[in-house]
Symmetry: C2
Subunit: 435 residues, 2 copies
């Protein structure tokens, strides 16, 4: 399996999201040695994060330990470490402790949401990118119902209960739909002092329609479906300030029981450390073979990369694109070693979809636009099959079927971090740094 | 359904553990109004906490939202609040915000572990009473493997990897057995720089045998079974100090990668606020009808109560006893209202058991002592049927069967609290207090 020279080349992959993980999987048990570095020990299946945030699934049902996924890759090491930068001339990745030399580097550190220069809003309106975010949002939403119940129990009056979702992209639409579903059906018989069906779910979008990446007909359909669920869809309505317990809409302040941030994209700051050209969101411009221009041994893939593919299509920031990029970067490395020419990346659009509460969804597959129940069934099938690891698929299917037939969801826990531990927030980071 | 006078009596239940929850369930849709107060929104099935701490089950598989369990109890309100004390003369429960009047009070706030006056050890050796504790321990154990892998990746040498479990009661035995099982089998093929089978799992017990509440033969059998799994059982060996990364055993310091506290009992401080007689662990002495002597309208039940039952048996601090006390306290209230005499509590010992890794357990059922595989099967059946809520049972059974047949466990996530939120640690408490 060794390459001609007998020296095994070192590939360092930064990030265990879709792009990095599929790059590592594609290099498993090949002629190179691989080190996958991530701050977390698990891959997170981001398309289902909103289901953890709303209590439908538990965190471990949409995550898989990276080591477990890669345990049969004997040429692969997983390192739980923080990457702090690069020295591209010396070909080393800088870690919070030490450094990692490479022959090839694949950078796939992803993106987060951006607060458009208002990072102080983060404390009042969490976004949804990690399991921790999802558990945080779940606690905020459930606590909002609890506070209302408590107030009503004392005063006998139903307090205002507004849930604000900021951003009408897929995440915002999915969150808003699920929140409305929960308030109207799931918890309606559990609160005996308030009527949870009177809770308002408001979806704010600055543009003139939601789901901008879809054709206008599907946007309109999604809007109708959201409104059927009771969501108030406010397009052309930017939120101009966020504080604890309220948001500013135009010149008016509106009280909110929970605010969720679902807009803006900011690529990992590692992108700018590569020294190449980046766009406003910090995404790195890459060559058709996914390498950093001028640095053929460095690939940038996934949500961090910005490119038009070989057919001129802008590659979207989707899991499916990230997976495809991971595979292309890996195969280009193997092409190099085998003396073959690299291939240019071509994005295969297998369709995009978004769910809207229970029973509803929209899907765009090629030119086909699908709405409603059939789109929702399609969505379920596709996402179960995309889930990493056979077992999670079964568990998630069972959980969904349970939720579907019983109208109950079971992950509704308000948990607060380790109450015994003195430094829970960064316990494992701290422990690592103390060594 | 109203009682003779037409005025519905108010029953306040403090605590949603086994005792409080079963008291509330027994009072569901009866002639009284019930308020169940808890700091958490969920019941935690404590006997399976160690499975969350070791990554076999996810948190939501052993927890049920209290509102969901009690949703059909139309006479019952669940309040997510902190109880700060009592005014027994005015018959009110004091809350962190406001107070709750009662006609009958059932106090079932449970117990935690005690550090024997060394609360500073808690930061270095968490105990296992809540879901948060379990997630904390899980992160510490997994991080220990990660740190070792990282050190070995750099140095090429296997570092010392000691897991110390302090306390040889059922929790300590279950944790130690499961940790050994994980190190020797579950993760053995996932770490490519260290041999996890060389990790040491040490179980420290100050007394001369583990599982003191069982007959000596079962203690000896449990010890043999633990040793077969590779656990080093150190009886007659008190741990005299705990610091970050090390413990003192006799006069020697031993380095530890993770230390878990599994000994000591301290009843909720609410016990001492009731003004009655308490034992050294803070448990409240109660009358045979489970009421506080001199306060027939106040019941103290579960791990907070200390009593010999009507047949002279000391009632143990077990879930089964707590459930039975909850039912007796509830029925004694109803007896009062119906003009009947109260009944004295009699503990029905249906047996006790402890698992030891995979395949192994001990059980004591009446005079019958059972060890090994049969005890383990019995344990599984009993615990699945005790789980609250039909759905959790199915989910847990499936997860166990998966783990059993595939040798894989799936809950192995290292999660750290909400990284976006500025004040994650007490987010929902803080939010509540800000209102």
């Amino acid at each position: 399996m060794n390459n001609a020279g007998g020296v095994r080349r070192k590939v360092v992959v930064v990030g265990g999201g879709f792009a990095g993980l599929y790059a590592a999987k594609s290099l498993a048990n090949t002629e190179v040695d691989v080190v996958l570095v991530d701050r977390k020990n698990h891959h997170t299946f981001q398309p289902l994060l909103y289901q953890v945030a709303t209590g439908v699934l538990g965190p471990h049902q949409i995550a898989a330990p990276l080591r477990a996924v890669l345990r049969k890759a004997r040429n692969t090491h997983v390192l739980l470490q923080e990457v702090t930068g690069f020295d591209l001339d010396r070909r080393v990745v800088l870690l919070s402790e030490g450094e990692l030399p490479y022959d090839y580097l694949i950078v796939a550190a992803g993106a987060r949401h951006s607060y458009f220069g208002h990072d102080e809003w983060a404390a009042h309106a969490p976004g949804l990118k990690t399991l921790e975010d999802a558990v945080d949002i779940r606690a905020r939403v459930l606590s909002a119902f609890e506070r209302a119940e408590q107030a009503a129990f004392v005063s006998g009056e139903q307090p205002i209960l507004n849930f604000a979702v900021i951003g009408g992209g897929p995440t915002g639409v999915e969150l808003a739909g699920m929140l409305a579903d929960i308030a109207r059906r799931v918890v309606a018989d559990e609160y005996h002092s308030i009527d949870t069906r009177k809770a308002r779910v408001l979806l704010f979008e600055a543009a003139d329609r939601i789901l901008l990446v879809y054709p206008p007909e599907l946007s309109a359909s999604a809007r109708r479906q959201l409104e059927e669920l009771g969501v108030e869809v406010l397009t052309g309505t930017p939120v101009t300030a966020v504080e604890e317990g309220r948001i500013r809409v135009g010149e008016e302040w509106m009280p909110t029981a929970a605010t969720i941030w679902a807009t803006g994209v900011a690529a990992s700051p590692l992108g700018r450390m590569l020294g190449g050209e980046t766009d406003r969101a910090g995404r790195v411009a890459v060559a058709p073979d996914l390498s950093l221009p001028g640095r053929p041994e460095v690939f940038v893939i996934g949500d961090m990369a910005s490119l038009k593919d070989a057919e001129g299509k802008v590659v979207p920031g989707l899991g499916a694109a990230a997976i495809q990029m991971g595979r292309t970067a890996a195969s280009n490395i193997l092409h190099d070693l085998q003396g073959n020419a690299r291939t240019s990346f071509v994005y295969r659009d297998k369709g995009t979809m978004a769910t809207i509460g229970k029973h509803r969804a929209i899907a765009l597959i090629g030119k086909h636009q699908i709405s409603g129940f059939i789109a929702w069934v399609l969505w379920g099938i596709v996402h179960v099959f995309l889930l990493i690891g056979f077992r999670s698929r079964l568990a998630v299917m069972r959980e969904w079927m349970w939720a579907y037939f019983t109208e109950r969801i079971n992950g509704r826990l308000i948990t607060t971090p380790g109450e015994v531990s003195r430094q829970p927030a960064q316990a494992n980071h701290a422990a690592r740094e103390k060594r």
